[in-house]
Every structure is written in C-alpha cells, then in structure tokens.
Symmetry: C2
DNA sequence: TTTGAAAATGAATCATCATTCATTTTAGGA
DNA sequence: TCCTAAAATGAATGATGATTCATTTTCAAA
C-alpha cells in the first residue's frame, strides 16, 4: 500500500534476484530505490524482514491457489497438477524476479525457521504432497515415495522456470505451460 | 593427499552441509577439525577456496562420468540418462554431504564466475544438454527446448536427491535409481 | 642432546556491512 | 510567511567474522 514501502520492495527484489540475499547490500537497495539507507529502516526493522515480506507475499499466493485447487473435488489429480502449473507459471510470468529469488534462497529459506515463513512453506509442501498422494490412488504411479515425487516436482518446476525467467514475458505462455506439464506428467520420452 | 588438508575439507563439508557456506564460520570448521583457525590458512588462502576445492572435486567426477557416457556410442539416449542417474546417485550416496552442499549453493555457484568452477559447470551443462539434444533426434520428445529440459532434469534430480540425502546410506540404491529414472523418463503418470 | 626449519597457534587486526540516531528537509496548516 | 510534526538523511557506530602474523611447538637430522 505505502508507496515508499513498495519502492523498497521493488528495488530489493531486483537486487536479491541479481546477487542473492547474502550478497545484497542495504546500500545497493537504497541506491536502486533512490533513497537513503536510513529510510529503509523506517519501513523494515532488519534486512531479513524485507526478504520475508517478499517471500510471504508470493508464497501466500501459491498457498491460496493450492487450497482452491485441492478443494475442487471435480478435478482429477492430473488436472490439479495442470492447474497448479498454470498458477505457478502465471505467478512467475507476472513477476520474473520472484522465480530467481526463490531459486536463490530455496534451500536456505525452506530450512530456515523464520516464524512466519516456516508454517507457510510447510503448509504448501503438505498440500502439494496431498495432491500427489491422492493422485496415486488413481492415475499417478504409486511405486514411488510421494515425498520424493513432491521434491522432484518442486525442483524440476523451479529450475525450469528459472531457465525462462529472464524472458518469460516475451515467450508464449501456453507453450511454456504445456511443455512443463508434459515433462512432469509424461517425462522426457516421446 | 595431505592428511591435514583432508581433515579440513571433511570438517568444512560437514559445516557447509549443515548451515550453508555463508553462515559457516571458519572458527566452526577449525573447532570441528580440532585445529586452530590459523592452521586452515596454511592450506587455503581464503574461505571460498575451501568450497571451491570441495565443489571442484565432485563436479569433476560428474564431468568425467558424463564424458564417458557421452562417448559411448553404443548407448541410446535413454540408456545414457539411466547411466548418468546411476553415477549421480552413487556419488550422492558415497557422499551425502555433497548433495546437501550443492543444493545449498546451487544457484550461487552456478552463477558465480569463479575462474576454476565456471568452465567446469558450463562444461557439465553443455554435455548434459548434448545428451538430451541427441536423444531428441530419436526417442526423446523433441517439442521442448532442450535447455529447458536440461534445467528441469537438473532441478528435479537434485531436489529428489536432497530428499533422500539424510538417509541415503540406509535406503535401497536400486529402488532410488529406478524411481528417479521413471520420474525423469516417463513422468508421474502410471 | 642440540638445533632449526616447518607446522601450528590464536590473539590482534582489518574489512565489511547492518543498524542507529542526531541532524536536516519537506510539506501542509495556521 | 512561519511553524512544526513527519519523513528522510547519511555519517558514525557496532557487530561479526575473515585473515594475519608474532610467537610457540614439533620433530627429525646432526
């Protein structure tokens, strides 16, 4: 809402996407936003809080979407996965920096015990695993540990998106989604 | 070769795997190895060089293996992928810390322009992409950008391995490999 | 033993930023 | 125009942790 806060988040996203959280300097972010270092501290108590705000925002959207998908009992597992891919690609397209940031910080932030992020990320993993486990009662192969499938899915999707993240705007969204669905559902073989 | 250097690398791997490179303190590594901080600097000029040594070692093994696989003209694409998965799983099993470290630092170090790592990682990506591109002339689906498939493969495999990395020793290697092959080649569907 | 080169030590130094806060600027109401 | 509360500033501070190096220890050859 606050215009200044929005500017800070925008600049921080650029810097985090470029160099990762740990190498990002508050002074860079301030420069980028055209404001003084101290100003950032009027809006965020610590550096980590900026990343937290960014991640909370996008993970919340994903969680929201996941909940909608999982509760739609009309959908088969395959359709749920497709729907989910669609949502994630849209998110990434709308915000190409996010895919890069999440990839950068994936391990760090999924291991992290940030009191706001942790439950959100756990929730997302649980929801995703549920979709996969439920699908295994029907059309998904059931000879693999659902946790492992979930991890494979997450890793594959994020790296796939990172590959496109720099030119996601210019690329045909439909093609990108279809390709990802094929890889996830049917694999590399013809 | 050098015993002391080996000890440092071993301790560093433990610490890096636990907390990631950025949060790892030289003093932790020294404590873990039961030596003084200064001693580490007799063997490595900077902290980064320790990680470099670790990553060079394991990526070199992967590159080596990739070259062997790619040059084996008897193998079809599918078999090359299977062989490659086998090598990677073996590596990870033999050294569970490595899988965790690489996952931690994946984005950071693949973007990084460390003069020794960069060419090695580029080479690995090129080799892998070649296997996939060549396979597309035959049994692999050819309707997806090979670069995107390569990224998907890398992301999927690493996250899959990370899922198991804590108990890879106790788990049936054969099962893990077969499952990963299925996910990569045939996808989630039955 | 003695000796000195090599190895190891860890307290002191140095560099890097995140964070603070005394001071300045801005902007809107009187 | 003047005044003041809110907003912004950025130099100074503080914390962290990598790196150095003067000193000590080890150990093998003489």
């Amino acid at each position: 809402m606050d215009k200044r806060e929005e500017e800070i988040i925008k600049s921080a996203m650029e810097v985090f996407a470029e160099v990762g959280f740990h190498k990002a300097k508050i002074s860079h972010i301030a420069d980028r936003a055209g404001i003084a270092v101290g100003t950032i501290y009027l809006y965020f108590k610590k550096k980590e809080d900026i990343l937290e705000a960014i991640l909370m925002r996008s993970w919340s959207i994903v969680e929201e979407a996941l909940k909608l998908v999982i509760n739609d009992t009309d959908l088969k597992g395959t359709e749920k996965i497709k729907e989910l891919i669609s949502i994630i690609v849209n998110q990434a397209k709308q915000n190409r920096l996010m895919a890069q940031i999440i990839l950068h910080e994936f391990k760090y932030w999924s291991d992290n015990d940030n009191p706001r992020l942790k439950p959100l990320i756990t929730s997302i993993q649980t929801l995703l695993r549920r979709i996969i486990s439920e699908g295994m009662e029907n059309e998904f192969r059931s000879d693999i540990d659902p946790g492992a499938v979930t991890s494979f899915f997450i890793g594959g999707v994020w790296h796939y998106l990172a590959y496109y993240s720099n030119n996601l705007e210019t690329i045909n969204e439909y093609t990108v989604k279809r390709a990802l669905e094929k890889l996830v559902l049917q694999g590399m073989l013809k």
